[in-house]
């Protein structure tokens, strides 16, 4: 299935090794992770050894080799968010979802990520859920946000 997703992306590249990081970004945007067959296809197309493709995919934090959950929660742990309690939010989420940063819940619903800085420092602590920014977060607001997202999912599946 994933082959369909990234075939179009590979058609647009010229085949130069310098395109590697850009291509990996594009594939991840489509597939939400980097599937093994995609890495193999990229290696062939750009003429970069597979081991080097894998090394790059592993080195950079933005890339993930495992599928992400249905919802992506990103907690900013930048300095400005940290002094306003951002790291405490990460601990709290970790406890609530029973996963560490970088992991996905066993039901595949939530992936938790910590990011160094989102550049919205004035509004910290910042949490991003599925691309939407939540400013001035607190542990209790966050708990409610997760609960309402879960409730919404249950409602959706009940009607499905």
């Amino acid at each position: 299935m994933s082959t369909v997703h990234y075939a179009g992306i590979l058609e647009t590249v010229e085949g130069h090794p310098s395109e590697l990081i850009e291509v990996l970004h594009d594939i991840q945007e489509e597939s939400h992770y980097l599937p093994e067959d995609a890495l193999r296809a990229v290696s062939e197309k750009l003429g970069v050894p597979l081991i080097e493709v894998f090394r790059v995919a592993n080195f950079y934090k933005a890339f993930t080799l495992v599928p992400r959950g249905a919802h992506l929660i990103t907690v900013c742990t930048g300095t400005a968010c940290h002094v306003r309690g951002g790291s405490r939010l990460l601990d709290e989420l970790s406890g609530q979802l029973n996963i560490a940063a970088g992991e996905t819940t066993s039901d595949g619903q939530f992936t938790l990520e910590a990011v160094n800085c989102l550049g919205a420092c004035a509004l910290g602590p910042i949490v991003v859920l599925d691309g939407k920014y939540y400013e001035h977060m607190t542990a209790s607001k966050l708990r409610k946000l997760i609960e309402s997202t879960r409730a919404q999912d249950n409602e959706d599946s009940a009607y499905a």
Partner: protein, 617 residues
């Protein structure tokens, strides 16, 4: 848009665009930057467009979605011209009143005006708001007047006139000496003289040369590069073009963080528009000079802010630094002469060409010229982006512009320079902010992050935070950084968790000095700064953790307890219901208690309590 075949065509275009804009009776400048979007500026813009259309005012009112205005704390915010009227924390519900009162009848909606916290007065004009008053917004001020998505707005404001001037009437050497005379130094952290860098790159052997814009703003707590690139991408492009002409480069790259999606989008759009207008590509403005720019996205590696690591990343490789015995101006990207400057540095170039080196050098201190943008964040009232002449005292930035403490708790330090910088105590707040003064005090200007810390910030925890950050971001190539940071973090973590000893503290200082001297690149060399500066100015906090097993700021979880003040507790039950760990008990209208065995110290009870009855000790 038509292709500009020469400088005269560009002038004509600018004139036409200016006339177009003069037709409007008023202009609403709404900040639509990442920060204000997070506070909801998107829906305000929508509501305003709808309302203006509903009242049939499209030909009279110009709605301009702009980049960052700086005063993020007040977002979503707007400025209405004429009148320079400043409205903050605007909601879609406010929009009909703004249209019918201000836009139609020139009346100010007072409740949306900024209220000065000291005098309690309502302030109407943006220029009178204390946050803006003490600033010199040479670079950031342009954000308000251009639409980042519209090249014609930049051109209407005199954009690309510096490029035209350089291409028609200056030799590359003249450009370089103008930049040298201005005293411009790199805004990314190092403070290396920009003109000297260009001169070395021009002199370097090689036909193919490159220019790079470093927009990999990795320092947590700094976001001025994002705001400049998002808000005014053409000024950065124009700066790069002038630099490319001066050193003799044909290709440029903007290396931007993937965490800044709007900056990626705006710079890509700017490049394609500039190409269509004949300002990028072959034979620019008919001068014979050819140059093009590509956007490359970073992928979340802090070390890629380091020039050699960044260049490896542009080549599509793992971002590991290399020793700099041969400088990148001689052998950089693909082994060819390369000039790398930061976003803010490039953005300063067109102004210097247009207004002259003397104009730029008139601002600042003896060795640090011009203005610098700082991201003022943390426990300060007015958070946002601040631009001041170099040499402005920290006190002016934190207290006059920043408005002092956010919540009444005393400010005790400001952290400057990101993970490579240090924490400066209030005794140092009279220091003029310039490259030399801050580095002598054990910190650095760095990329310009300023995180304000108050009594609720634990300085040992801050040191631990930066060590954890840097250990995680160390690429692992050299041992002093890889192993040294790991050991330092172990010692500092022990201190924050109540296992610290005086002997280990001495070892910490010893390891810190070794990492400083022996690491390969700037990441490692500067990594001990947060530890060394907190030890230098806040040793008493380390002592409290080690000798008394106490965290004075109430941050380090292993050393604190949550309890309820029975006098203040009204027994409302808010904390009891909110506690996810069922650690709170008590009858209704009776003081509650926290079970220390069950308490996870998450702080939810304190967030929920309206009577400040939850005490952390």
């Amino acid at each position: 848009m038509p292709k500009m075949l020469g400088p005269d065509a560009l002038l004509g275009w600018a004139k036409k665009e200016r006339q177009e804009r003069e037709k409007f009776e008023s202009t609403v400048q709404i900040c639509a930057d990442t920060g204000c979007r997070a506070s909801g500026s998107g829906v305000v813009v929508k509501a305003l467009r709808n309302e203006v259309e509903r009242q049939g005012l499209q030909d009279k009112v110009n709605i301009r979605e702009t980049g960052c205005h700086g005063f993020c704390e007040q977002g979503p915010l707007m400025v209405i011209e004429p009148g320079n009227i400043f409205y903050g924390k605007v909601t879609p519900e406010d929009v009909p009143e703004i249209v019918s009162e201000t836009l139609l009848n020139n009346r100010v909606v007072e409740r949306l005006c900024y209220v000065d916290s000291i005098s309690g007065e309502r302030i109407i004009k943006e220029s009178d708001v204390p946050f803006y008053k003490a600033q010199d917004r040479t670079i950031l001020g342009q954000n308000k007047v251009v639409d980042p998505f519209d090249i014609s707005a930049y051109v209407a404001n005199g954009g690309y006139s510096a490029l035209a001037r350089v291409l028609t009437s200056m030799e590359p050497e003249e450009v370089i000496s103008e930049i040298q005379e201005s005293g411009l130094r790199g805004r990314g952290g190092g403070g290396y003289p920009t003109g000297r860098k260009w001169e070395q790159c021009r002199a370097a052997d090689g036909y193919e040369k490159y220019v790079i814009c470093n927009a990999d703003e990795g320092d947590p707590g700094a976001y001025m590069d994002r705001s400049v690139l998002e808000g005014n991408p053409h000024v950065v492009l124009e700066g790069m073009m002038i630099g490319a002409f001066a050193i003799g480069a044909q290709q440029g790259y903007i290396y931007v963080r993937n965490e800044y999606p709007l900056a990626v989008k705006h710079s890509k759009k700017a490049i394609s528009d500039a190409r269509d207008a004949g300002l990028l590509g072959e034979d620019i403005l008919g001068s014979g000079f050819s140059f093009d720019v590509k956007v490359m996205r970073g992928a979340g590696a802090f070390v890629c802010g380091e020039s050699t690591a960044l260049m490896a990343s542009v080549e599509g490789k793992v971002g590991e630094p290399r020793p700099k015995d041969v400088h990148t101006v001689e052998k950089g990207l693909y082994g060819r002469p390369t000039t790398l400057n930061n976003v803010e540095t490039w953005a300063n170039v067109p102004g210097i060409i247009n207004k002259g080196a003397e104009w730029f050098a008139a601002k600042g201190t003896a060795r640090s010229k011009g203005t610098k943008i700082f991201a003022l964040t943390g426990m300060v009232k007015n958070t946002g982006l601040v631009e001041v002449p170099m040499g402005t005292p920290l006190r002016t930035i934190v207290f006059d512009i920043g408005g002092g403490s956010a919540n009444g708790s005393a400010i005790k330090a400001v952290q400057t320079g990101g993970p490579s910088g240090g924490c400066l105590p209030t005794e140092k707040f009279d220091l003029p902010v310039d490259f030399e003064a801050l580095s002598e005090a054990g910190s650095m200007v760095g990329s310009g992050g300023m995180v304000v810390m108050d009594e609720s910030t634990c300085m040992v925890d801050v040191a631990r935070y930066f060590l954890a950050f840097l250990m995680d971001e160390s690429c692992g190539k050299c041992a002093p950084c890889r192993i040294g940071l790991d050991r330092m973090l172990e010692i500092v973590t022990d201190i924050t968790e109540g296992r610290g000893t005086a002997e280990k503290l001495a070892l910490l200082e010893d390891v810190a000095e070794t990492v400083q001297v022996a690491s390969l690149c700037a990441l490692g060399k500067t990594a001990p700064n947060p530890v060394l500066s907190t030890l230098r100015y806040f040793r008493a906090e380390y002592d409290a953790h080690i000798r008394e097993r106490r965290c004075p700021a109430g941050v380090c979880r292993a050393l604190i307890t949550y309890s309820i003040d029975t006098e203040a507790c009204t027994g409302c039950g808010a904390c009891l219901r909110a506690c996810p760990h069922e650690a709170v008990s008590g009858a209704k209208k009776e003081p509650h208690v926290i079970d220390q065995e069950l308490c996870q110290k998450c702080g939810i009870c304190r967030d929920e309590c309206k009577f400040d009855a939850v005490v952390v000790q």
